[in-house]
Assembly symmetry: D2
Homo-oligomer: 347 residues x 4
């Protein structure tokens, strides 16, 4: 099979670098360009010593036209609000785009000023962008040229809630999502405020009560429930590098036994190659580290009539780059699991 | 001032050893006996090298009569279900008792089989035992001879919820407590299942949906609300040694602005020497490590009409031994802060 | 290409489980049997949740004859002193053996009582066993049926020292090896003494001054130097799960500039697919985590005429299972890098 | 007893903040001024939430004259090369000075350009400055007005080596010091390059082979040995916040049994209140965390005729601020242990 040509804009960040890592061993892909801003001109493997011998290319400055011309697909992994300036030029060159940030996740342009504090400059593309959670939009993903890769928290939260919300088993209000993230979620640029000495042996919440990932979580849950869904969402930083654990609390709308709930999850994810439903144990982030897997379970608290669903992912894997590669596979009709079929590193 | 004589039963465990550490520098206390089971006959500072030069006593076997006779107060820090066999003999010797485990926390003996899987052997003492959260029961603590020290999760959860529940600002149902604990909460004996290699870079929930700390949380909240309160409670183990962060979600019963909520907390805890209300920042466990402080704040999510309260403690400090010393101070009319007035180690 | 059949004895330990993880995605291997003692009868992926969907086999009891009969190669990953009881039976069945423990690493049977406190029961096999460090014994590895996989510390230490010792650039006495290991090196069974609460935020030396890995380090260095070499070796446990960093100090025997030293390393490892010589930066364990790479560098302290060589590996990768797979590749004439050509997980 | 007035210049850094933490509960001290550069105008406890309720002063800009006038003693905790510009003005005001950085540690001004890359601007003070390791210079400390507080690595290294070098038991060449430090040693300003995501689950050496702490180590060892001593010194960053473990290798100059060596240590440190000699176990940093203790031991490798000495400290305690307070106690004729007599936090 001929290899497609892929580029990564923002390869010096953790999400971009993880995409490069996965592309470097992908059987159907050749990496063409990698870009960086501050670190442009540097060899990629100097910043990411794990890539030494795999990706020793020099990181170049962003040139959307050239990159779009040279690539079949470009991953854009920049802080939110930057990709929207580049995507039109990339698409114009016939290059498919996978945006790892938030610029094309929300269908309603009016939500950007509200949640992200910027006005969208390319709202005409929001209609065609597909939200890249395969368990929700597999078919649409297969035919789009513009893929909005889910946020790390939404990926875990939606996979935890999907079976309950789609089936109508839980109420559309009163849902609480409590998420715990590794520090790499703050990004490489975030190093300054996230020094080891103070993050270690520490845990704290942040962005309470209005983290911007709420917007896409509610958009997709409302789509699933066919009614407006609002959630409380609180993210926490815990002292680990990778991983997100989302613990979700949803008031039951009807009687549902634990066994029925588990069967609902097993049925829902029967054909999802990267979702594993746990029946007897609880998801742990370490079981997903470095991989594209999401481990999920559900329990029923009969005393309070609450479903408690828990999902674990690697925030840089299923929560960013791994998911992006899975979406690329679908967009190019590769096997969905190509380049991703390996277990997490454990312990 | 003459020093009182204090003993610690179960000094080889983390909670007991932390009590010994704090007693070792307490101005009004002399440590008389320390006991251990597996490690009896060993010098305390061999197991706890930080205590070298402070507590080089040999840990002896438990002998309730002798210890009660020799001590003004005895801290019992054993797995739940053991203290109830020792407390009557200790009290009989005229020794006051502070039980760091759960044996005397629940007023209703019938709750023990339900939540702790054992029948209580000394139910006649449940009536006189006082639940040792000073912010709730300061006066009763001052006159009791039998003190039930709160669990680590309940300490954080109750301090987070107290102002909201007592004031009636939140509803009595729909409360969700999501707690994150350091691994020392699993105890020293827990080492086997809590090896570094698998706990590190990992997070997971456990005891879902029925952790036994729910019983005392609901007992005290119901007492505060003057109506039955039920909660959903999910504990998680995160990769740190010490600390609990409790994030609490409570549906508002009435309109309440964030400023009003914060003022409610500031008023409630105005005279509490070990509760610090944060207005502009979020509690972090590291700011309490090694100390008896509880840092707490509250935010209002107006979109979903939910109060989000967050409390941080050291699980071995405010969540166990520090709290126990504070209670001892009150029981013996020492200054409430004696031996505890030092800041956390940070970073 | 037909797949060979591989079994892993001791699959419940960290070294064995890592071998299973790597074999699960190896293109030329089918996993036949996995064994465990305490956990026999359990599904492998229950203990190692990362393997769910990859290796859901039940771990069986050890039966050397059956396993040897059914397998082309068997990895034995048991505490030292156990493999020597099984290897003869395995070999007799025509099965090649890769021992991940120490039973066949020392050529001189008399060293076992001295360093390992047991007498060898199968000394007649020590002569044909090959010490599996490809950079030292590549040819012999290709033809042996009994492979002694190097210890984790020796793997890092020998790769750090090899160019210096073989070239005669350093003296044969006065060599000091200071090694820092992640806690997984203590093994899964080691959980009890290696609980998170006390290993976290801590570092300490152990087995000073006589760790049993000294024996094989001196054996191989003496072989390289063609004269008896003795080393001081001190291992330390540091608060991480995976990784070994060996910092080696060797007094120069002759003038050697830093550039000459680096060139010596580059030449020595020119054809070694899993050794990367760093010229401008220092090896860090994270750059090797989950992989089979060894990163190495050397500096010259001209003031004291000392060469300082540093090597980083994943103790479960290049220090155990990864190395074992590389050796298997050589023993079966597969490409040396088969199943191992992927970068570390970073960050 | 009247309290003396103390100020801390550079209170926003980790070393300065630790001095403030210790001064806040010191029985004979009142904190007058705390200064910061970037964070001037901020309340101290905003940056260091552990100090909330203890030190809620605003950090001011540096004004040496005013601070010197208002204070009996000033701790200067700035990057090396800054204190020398302030110290003359402080001393002129009759204020004693404790410099936590390196500006007055080296007696020979010519060493500053060589090791610190700056020319000293106040070399006339180097003669009167006393190197503040009480075990070496207790008497001189008691009478000086200018105290040079030892570096973190030298504190551990010198306490490990002192008995061996002073007694002549080891040779003056061939000494190797391999040190492992927690990340707080890189300082608060160092956050940018020391983000959690990359420091966690990682270890690496740095400043090989010429870390600037070598200069003071050799100065003091040469003073002890009464002959020039050179050392190889390699620092490493390991994934913990606090703590330094120094493992020291010294070739024996004469026969010395392990018991003799241990007795030598016990004798040497008999009257040192903050040095604990371990006979049966190995020093671990966690046993010193948050405290001023140094735990030390020695072993003899008879095979190679090498003494292996190991010392553990808290790099911010005995390695910086704790040591500084101990020196202040001596300078003001307070009990040497005033304000420091509490055990480490463990686990």
């Amino acid at each position: 099979m001929n290899k497609i040509k892929a580029s990564v804009i923002g390869a010096s960040g953790y999400g971009g670098a993880e995409a490069v890592r996965l592309l470097a061993t992908h059987p159907h892909v050749e990496v063409v360009h990698v870009t960086a801003e501050t670190h442009q001109g540097q060899v990629m493997s100097k910043l990411y010593p794990n890539l030494r011998g795999f990706v020793d290319q020099t990181m170049i400055a962003v040139d959307a036209e050239r990159i779009g011309h040279d690539s079949d697909v470009t991953f854009v992994s920049l802080p939110s609000g930057k990709a929207m300036h580049l995507v039109p030029a990339l698409l114009e060159q016939g290059c498919k785009v996978i945006d790892i940030a938030a610029d094309f996740r929300l269908r309603d342009a009016a939500l950007y000023p509200e949640w992200y504090k910027f006005a969208h400059v390319a709202p005409e593309y929001l209609g065609e962008a597909v939200y890249g959670l395969p368990e929700l939009h597999r078919d649409a993903i297969g035919t789009t040229r513009l893929l909005a890769n889910p946020g790390c928290y939404p990926a875990a939260s939606l996979l935890a809630l999907l079976p309950l919300v789609r089936s109508g088993a839980v109420r559309s209000e009163g849902i609480v999502i409590d998420a715990k993230s590794g520090v790499s979620g703050a990004g490489r640029g975030g190093g300054g405020g996230f020094g080891f000495a103070e993050m270690n042996e520490n845990v704290q919440a942040y962005s309470v009560p209005r983290h911007n990932h709420i917007a896409e979580i509610e958009q997709e849950l409302s789509h699933l429930a066919k009614t407006a869904v609002q959630v409380v969402f609180t993210p926490h930083l815990i002292p680990m590098t990778r991983g997100i654990l989302a613990t979700v609390y949803a008031p039951l709308a009807q009687d549902l036994s634990e066994d029925e709930a588990l069967r609902l999850y097993e049925t829902t994810y029967h054909d999802a190659p990267f979702v594993r439903v746990l029946r007897e144990s609880f998801p742990q982030t370490k079981a997903t580290m470095g991989s594209n897997y999401c481990d999920v379970t559900v329990r029923i608290d009969t005393r309070t009539r609450t479903a408690i669903a828990i999902a674990a992912i690697d925030n840089l894997g299923r929560g960013a780059a791994g998911q992006a590669i899975q979406n690329m596979n679908l967009m190019f009709q590769f096997p969905e699991t190509a380049g991703l079929l390996f277990p997490a590193v454990f312990p």
